[in-house]
């Protein structure tokens, strides 16, 4: 017996995140660590929970092991429910056909059965690769007030960057009259955040039509939205104001981590009214030794710091030994930085070891690029990893 839900969320988490290179070799992008304690998917998941959405389908495809394990039964987000809760939805084999997810729209199409179980009036489509705090409930309220068929969340971006986004051109009342995917000459700076609320009935109708069209690339931005616009459906933009960051590249992932630092950070994790939930490791408290020095940085459980840490975000159980120096870095779990090693302007994936007196990366101020070490990579004693290097994860 499935009780009817007003609104359920479908979270697209199958993306490879190929522009994160070594970091997504064995991990789907939504499961990439962020901010010391979190993974990227914690943000849309926590947003759902904080917005009162208790039924979330997570569509996985690329390297799902870590992601599946992380989501588990949904307990960290209070989504281990008897009715609803979180459900991981991988591609599956059907009687007449079986297929990988061929695009965002096709992924949802293949899970229409899941949606129909709860017969929700509204379906929220999310993606698992952005860092932001958003009350989806407010967006839903606007959607209902407008009597819309589809509402798309938009963000004002700088005009010069608008050509990198899907741009929605709207009338004064917020209704959309045109959608342009990465326009050369953008008419506005309303960038689509890839967050959609559909009337479920309309969504299913258009997904089915889209599936029947063999020339379609089965994508929300490229196919579904333009098709609905062409048919004169009621489409509205919902303006989101606040911090939002696409962490699809090494640079933006680094920047988003740095946005957490500062006494008045660009993105505040300490807001008790909008908590971000995560799966906990149950590790002991972190420890600053008598030789340790920590400035403008974030540390979490299990870390032991006897060296210097400046402008950095450290995940659980990172060890920084005496005389080692970590500056402008994002370091994932269980990394050991041994005596005298220098790590500057780098993203270090989990379980890496940087042996004594080794050097990784170089000064950011001097215009160098970010160095990246894949999971389990070992930098030998005294060795150097050049800035901008991309070291692959240990096989």
């Amino acid at each position: 017996m499935y009780r009817k839900k007003e609104c359920i969320a479908m979270l697209l988490a199958g993306g490879q995140g190929s522009r994160l290179y070594a970091l997504t070799e064995k991990t789907a992008k939504p499961a990439v660590p962020f901010g010391g304690k979190y993974r990227i998917i914690d943000f849309p998941m926590s947003n759902c929970v904080n917005s009162g959405i208790d039924t979330v389908g997570v569509l996985t495809q690329y390297q799902p092991l870590v992601l599946n394990e992380y989501i588990g039964n949904g307990e960290p987000w209070d989504l281990d429910r008897t009715r609803g809760g979180v459900m991981v939805l991988p591609p599956y084999q059907g009687k007449s056909s079986s297929d990988w997810y061929r695009g965002t729209a096709n992924a949802i199409y293949q899970n229409i059965n899941f949606i129909e179980r709860y017969s929700p009036e509204y379906t929220l489509i999310l993606s698992g690769d952005h860092i932001y705090k958003m009350d989806y409930n407010k967006m839903l309220k606007a959607h209902k007030q407008n009597g819309a068929d589809c509402t798309i969340a938009v963000l004002k971006v700088p005009m010069e960057e608008a050509s990198r986004f899907g741009i929605l051109n709207t009338n004064e009342d917020g209704s959309i009259y045109e959608f342009e995917e990465k326009p050369k000459k953008p008419k506005s700076n309303n960038a689509s955040m890839g967050i959609y609320i559909f009337n479920t009935k309309a969504l299913i109708e258009y997904l089915k039509a889209d599936e029947a069209d063999e020339s379609s690339s089965n994508d929300f931005g490229k196919n579904i939205i333009p098709a609905m616009l062409a048919d004169g459906k009621k489409m509205y933009a919902y303006l989101f104001e606040g911090y939002w960051k696409d962490v699809g590249t090494i640079e933006s992932l680094w920047e988003a981590n740095m946005d957490l630092l500062g006494r008045n950070p660009a993105f505040n994790l300490y807001d008790k009214r909008w908590r971000i939930f995560y799966r906990n490791n149950a590790e002991p408290p972190h420890k600053i030794g008598s030789m340790g020095k920590v400035v403008n940085s974030m540390l979490t459980e299990g870390c032991v710091v006897n060296g210097e840490v400046v402008n950095s975000v450290l995940s659980n159980s990172v060890k920084v030994e005496e005389g080692a120096c970590v500056k402008d870095c994002v370091i994932f779990g269980n990394v050991t930085i041994k005596k005298g090693a220098k790590v500057e302007y780098a993203i270090i994936d989990h379980d890496c070891v940087i042996e004594e007196n080794a050097t990784v990366g170089a000064s950011r101020e001097a215009g160098n690029k970010i160095a990246v070490l894949g999971a389990g990579y070992v930098v030998e004693a005294g060795a150097t990893v050049e800035p901008g290097a991309m070291c692959e994860a240990k096989k």
Binding site: Y270, P284, V294, E301
Partner: protein, 377 residues
Amino acid sequence: MSAIGIIFSNIHDRSVSELTRVRTMASIPYGCRYRLIDFALSNMVNAGISTIDVITHYNYQSLMDHIGTGKDWDMARRSGGIKILPPYISAFANNQNELYHTRLEALKSINHFIAGMTEDYVVMADCDVICNIDLSDMINAHIESGAEMTFAVQKKTLTKEVARRNTLMKADETGRIIDISAKPNNFDGEADMCLNIIVASRRYLQQMVLDAIAHDYKSLTKDILIKTLDRRIYKIYRYEGYSAEISSLEEYYAHSMALLADPDKYDSLFNIEERPIFTKVRNSPPTYYSETSDVKNSLIADGCIIDGTVENCILFRGVRVGKGAVVKNSILFQDTFVGDNVSLNCVISDKNVVIHEGITLSGAPTLPFYLEKRKMI
């Protein structure tokens, strides 16, 4: 091997009365993010015990809040799991409604539960001894030795004062207990001190509790153990790792600070690969160290924001240390707020204490300055 656990949450509450005014011994905060019961619970969970009864007496609201469903210890089970047993007041028997004082009386009060146990062995523990012990090894030793009860002991050199509040056990070369002195008045030197972690064979325990009810025995040691040493086989199990017994506020302070001073002690509690200590997850963000922070030799939980100087301290979750504040040799519990330019030395602040700007407070290591829960200064 199948075993069930019993944890006594209130035993020895009085010894740390400052901290137990609003909570049980079991729920005294310790080591940045833990509560004392986490050690007893984690030891049991790490030994594969999947049913644990926690006997309470009074002040157990904070304990119930801490344990919740037990899911943080992986003990939210359909069969088994953690069960809190509050005092049982029977409606029509006024004269029987006295609360228990001793371990044996506590066991008598849950006789119905004990009678219904089906596991072969029962592991019992208090909360005032902090240690990370391999209970499955102890249970195996108990099984191999064929004893009725096995007591974890630790060889320690004791002062008269420490000896006076503890039970000392003397064993022969096979480990069989041949003499017990409960709280000896005039003893100092080396002895096997009982850690109050006990493995009992279930059938023996059931019989023992029934006997105790029939004969109105009050004390496990005095009325049962000592009297039956020649007939029953009680063994010791020597624990070699670190243990800390919390029997006064000064000792609480000393044993907390020992975590900072001695990395080996810290590691033998928290860094044993196969035996992590679990606790309630509070979902805090990481801790932020600002440009003006200066932190040395400290243990710090998540969710803190530090703008000031912190030296030789233990900070629990969500502590704020303001700009220009200097905090030394102190233990600040959850959500303590330290304003700008505050100076603290040898202070223990309980939960939600607020210390306003510019205030100076100092205690001594032998007499830490204690600020009660929700105090505003």
